[in-house]
Symmetry: C2
Subunit: 219 residues, 2 copies
């Protein structure tokens, strides 16, 4: 379908001198890889030739876009991160009502996971396997998530006069928890998703109550 957003031009567009016009773009290769992947297929199992086949290019043409499969994987992760940031944004815009911030966010997150352009799964599962560059790329995206969450938490705290203790740890813990639970969701039948949402919400709630209690007792 439509890739969520055009990837920021990581490569500067070369000055169009003379020569043959490129027939395929980096994004074409990424899209081909994405078609191969899915909730149950790991990026580690992709071979260069297979991706090239899916993109309808000769094996060697792959090298013109990426220097290796790992390079491709990193690009995939970065796009997944963008997709994730979209989701956060969506969740935020759905709040504002009198509803529970936590629950709404968790729901949005898991809904997006189901609708699935194969993006999120990469971030969920593959942070601990693969090349160093790959792992680092995943770590970076998670940190973005944590950062944004932390800002939200602080804003929320000052708005509702409920103090917060160690906002950085809170956001980190919540991030880890949500990602871990979401990973389980992928393997679960959809009928159990509501319970998983309940559970996750409750876990986060514990952390929030905990940090608030600690903040008050230290005042």
């Amino acid at each position: 379908m439509t890739p969520p957003r055009k990837a920021a031009a990581t490569r500067k567009s070369r000055p169009p001198g003379q020569g043959r016009k490129p027939a395929i773009s980096r994004q074409d290769v990424v899209d081909a890889a994405l078609k191969l992947l899915g909730p149950h297929r790991s990026v580690a199992t992709l071979s260069l030739r297979e991706v090239a086949r899916a993109a309808n290019i000769a094996p060697n043409s792959f090298y013109r876009q990426f220097k290796s499969i790992d390079d491709l994987a990193v690009a995939l992760i970065e796009q997944a991160g963008e997709s994730l940031r979209d989701i956060i944004w969506k969740a935020r815009s759905r709040i504002t009502e009198g509803e529970s911030v936590i629950r709404t966010s968790v729901e949005t997150f898991l809904q997006q996971l189901q609708s699935d352009q194969h993006y999120l799964h990469l971030l969920l599962r593959e942070g601990a396997v693969g090349s160093a560059a790959f792992k680092h790329a995943v770590e970076r995206q998670l940190e973005f998530f944590e950062k944004e969450l932390q800002i939200d938490l602080i804003r929320l705290a000052s708005a509702s006069k409920t103090p917060i203790h160690n906002a950085d740890l809170v956001s980190r813990a919540i991030t880890r928890l949500v990602f871990s639970m979401a990973t389980s969701a992928v393997e679960l039948p959809a009928t159990l998703h509501p319970k998983l949402i309940d559970d996750t919400t409750e876990m986060i709630n514990m952390i929030m109550v905990g940090t608030q209690t600690l903040a008050q007792s230290q005042k």
Copy 2:
């Protein structure tokens, strides 16, 4: 009356009919695979031939011990689970003092991770990639961990008169958190481990305070 019998074989003792004596055991193959693995090598990258080579057997002899590489992987996970249970036991025996239960446990966990017989890493990282059987095996070991933790939590709660709310969710959340943080530890230089222990301890502390506060407010 019972005739003296030879001690039970390691795994499946096959009825000792006639025929050639086995030269290698399942465990030999597992050990060979373990030597290949390590904190930065995923089980997904093991090939049957490579394992056979490491075990000094012909590729086809592998099939006598395991029906596939996935089968081997499941066996690895189960042994990792046993190792994990040893760690828990060790952590428990180190408590009893007046020290913090949480901190001592987290410390023991991470120390074991460093000393490393390559076992734990499997459980930490690979729960979301690989075959369905493999993922299920990992999930099962994590559930063991959760179960034991839950029992501990309940015992602790009734001993210290501090009530606990949703002990199952608490143990699940803590398990996920610890595993996630431990996964990060593997990639981190050892100098940062103390901070990571501090952080993890604090996160767990938040959850504990949260559940206790909730339990009291609901009384």
